[in-house]
Symmetry: C2
Subunit: 335 residues, 2 copies
C-alpha cells in the first residue's frame, strides 16, 4: 500500500514547548492512540505534559520504541537547531524520526548520516508517496464513510476519530483513514492529500481506502470544502477517489464566512449535502448523508442543545457534537 | 508572473522522427505560431518536414533563435542519447532547450554544464513554477473564456486557439492561456496544471489569467472534465481559479464513453453546461455557456452538417467544428 507509514510504539517529542496550543499533534496522539504512546520526551521543566511517562532516548530504545514523533508545531513549520542532537541520537539508537514540518528532515544537517548509522528512517508525513496512480473509478469492496465540511478546520478529523471509536464500540469493523498530516500521525499511516500532484488526487484517495471486507468501514478524514475558493479541488479529488457509501457533514456552530476568505459566505449544510451527492454519485450511486457533526464549543450548554435539536428537525438527520455527545446516534443509523 | 516562459523565436527540433503522429507538438507550433518559428532541425533525411527552413545550430544562433524546442514526443517521454550532443551544442551557443519530457533536462549528462557555459536555460514545461499561492477567489479585472470538455482529448486546446484567432480577427483583445505542456510550447508561456500540487491548483489558475484590461479576454485551455473519474479535481481547480465569465463546451462527435475509463458513460453536453455553471457561480455569478466546439472528424460532410444543426437546435447555442467552420459564430455572441 503506497501510504506514509509510522512505526509504533511512539515516543512523543515536545521539545521545550510550554504552550498547549502548539502541542496539539502530541495531545491528539495521546488522546486518540494512548496504546501506541510509550512515553514523552521533554527538554525543559515547564514543557507541556501529556501525562505520558517521561523517557530518555536510552530508555525508549530499550523499551522498543519505533518512532520519535515530533508532537509540536513551531511557527513557520521549522525544526529548531537545539533539537538536532536529540534527533541524531534517536536515529543512531535505531528510532525513526517522524515530522510534519515544511522543512524536510533530510535537510537537517547530520540526520541522514545518523539514520544510516542506526538503521532508522526519516519520515516526513507531509511528503506523499512516489508513483501514485491516476484514479480508475473502479468499485472497491467494503464500505466507506467520508467526512465533508462546510469549511476547513470544522472538526473533520476528530469527527472521523469519534465515529471510528463508536463504530468499533458497536462491534463494527472500522478504520480511520488519515488524509492530512496530524491525522497521519494519529493513524500511523495515510496520505497527505494536499501535497499530492493534482493529476493523482483521486488515485491517491483510491489507495487510501483500498479493497476490504464487505462489512468493513473506512472512516475517511475529509479535507477542505466543496464550496471553498482555495481548496475545493482537493475536496473533489478526495470525494471522487473515496467512492463513499455514506458521508457526514462537519460544521462549526456560528461560523458564517469561509475562514480566511471573508468574501465568501459559508454554504448551508443543505448545500453541502446536495453538492456532495451530486458529485459523488459519479462513483457511487448509493451515496447519502447519514448525519451532521457540529463543533458547538462557542455555545452555552442550553444553546447547544436547542441548536442541535433545531438542526435535527430541519435536516431530519442525527446531529451531534461528537466530542460532547459521542457519535452513537450516527452509528445507529449506519448499522 | 509565475509561469513557465519560452524565449522566442524557436528552432523546432524533430530528431530523426519519421512519423507525423509523434511530431504533433512541432506541427502545432508551426501551425499556430508560424511567426515564432525560425526553422526546423532534422537529423535524418526521412525526418518529418514541417515546411520550415532547415537551419543548423550555427545558422540558428546567427539568426538570433532563442529556444530549441523539442517538437516530438518519444514513447516513454524520454530523451534519446543521440540527441545529447545536439542539445549540448545548442546550449553552448546560447540557445535555450525546451522539453516536455518526463525526464528532466538537468538529468541529461552535460546539459547543465553546457547551459552554464553558453548562458542558456533548460526549460522543462512539465515542471510548474515554485511557490504558487493558494487561490484567493478575489475578482480580477478583464474577461475570461474557459474551455471545458465532455472528456479529455476532445479538442480543448485547438478550440481555444481557434477562438483566440477569430476574436483577434474581429478586433477583440484576446490571449490564449495554456494549461498543458503542448499548449505552453505553442503559447510560449503557461502553467502545466496537471503537475501542480493540489493545494495550489486554483491559485495556479488565478496566476495563469491575471488582472487585465476590462475589454481583454483570456481564452483559457481546459483540462480533463468535470465528470472524469481520474481528472475531475484538476478541472475543478482550473474552473474555480479561472473565474470564467463565459465557457465553451468541447466534445468529440460519436464518443460515448470516457476514453480509457470505459465503465463511465460520457456526460451529455447539457450535463457539462449545468455542472460548470453550478460550480463556477461560486467565483463568478455571470458565468454562462456561449457555444459548443465539436471535433467532427469521424463524420462525413453531410452527417457533420446535420449533426451540428441538430445540436444547435437542441442547445440553442452556436455549435461549430472550429477547425473546419472557424469559431466566428461563437465570437459573434461574445462581442
Amino acid at each position: 500500500m503506497k501510504v506514509v507509514e509510522i512505526r509504533p510504539p511512539y515516543l512523543i517529542f515536545l521539545g521545550s514547548e510550554s504552550r498547549a496550543t502548539y502541542a496539539k499533534t502530541g495531545a491528539g496522539l495521546a488522546q486518540w492512540r494512548p496504546e501506541l504512546c510509550s512515553g514523552q520526551l521533554r527538554l525543559a521543566a515547564d514543557t507541556v505534559d501529556l501525562g505520558l511517562p517521561d523517557l530518555t532516548l536510552e530508555q525508549a530504545a530499550e523499551a522498543g520504541v519505533g518512532s520519535l514523533v515530533i508532537g509540536t508545531a513551531a511557527v513557520g513549520g521549522g525544526i529548531p537547531e537545539d533539537w538536532y542532537p536529540v534527533l541524531r541520537e534517536a536515529l543512531s539508537r535505531g528510532i525513526d524520526v517522524v515530522a510534519g514540518a515544511h522543512k524536510r528532515l533530510a535537510e537537517v544537517p547530520g540526520l541522514s548520516e545518523s539514520a544510516a548509522a542506526g538503521g532508522a528512517q526519516l519520515v516526513d508525513v507531509r511528503v506523499p508517496p512516489a508513483e501514485l496512480p491516476v484514479g480508475t473509478g473502479k468499485k472497491r469492496r467494503g464500505k466507506r464513510l467520508l467526512m465533508v465540511g462546510t469549511d476547513c478546520a470544522v472538526g473533520k478529523k476528530y469527527s472521523a476519530l469519534c465515529l471510528e471509536r463508536d463504530m468499533r464500540a458497536a462491534g463494527m469493523k472500522a478504520d480511520f483513514r488519515a488524509s492530512g498530516q496530524t491525522g497521519i500521525m494519529i493513524a500511523g499511516c495515510g496520505i497527505p492529500m494536499d501535497a499530492v500532484v493534482s493529476d493523482f488526487l483521486s488515485g491517491a484517495a483510491e489507495i487510501l481506502s483500498p479493497d476490504n471486507d464487505d462489512d468493513h468501514w473506512d472512516v475517511i478524514e475529509g479535507q477542505g470544502g466543496l464550496f471553498h475558493p482555495g481548496y475545493s479541488s482537493v475536496s473533489t479529488g478526495l470525494l471522487i477517489g473515496s467512492q463513499p457509501d455514506a458521508f457526514v457533514v462537519c460544521h462549526e456552530a456560528g461560523r458564517e464566512r469561509i475562514s480566511g476568505w471573508d468574501d465568501f459566505p459559508l454554504p448551508s449544510i443543505e448545500d453541502v449535502i446536495a453538492r456532495t451527492v451530486e458529485l459523488g454519485v459519479l462513483v457511487n450511486p448509493a451515496i447519502h448523508c447519514v448525519g451532521v457533526c457540529v463543533n458547538t464549543s462557542s455555545l452555552a450548554e442550553d444553546e447547544r442543545k436547542s441548536y442541535l435539536a433545531q438542526l435535527e428537525k430541519r435536516l431530519v438527520l442525527p446531529c451531534v457534537d461528537p466530542l460532547i455527545d459521542g457519535a452513537e446516534a450516527i452509528v445507529r443509523g449506519l448499522r
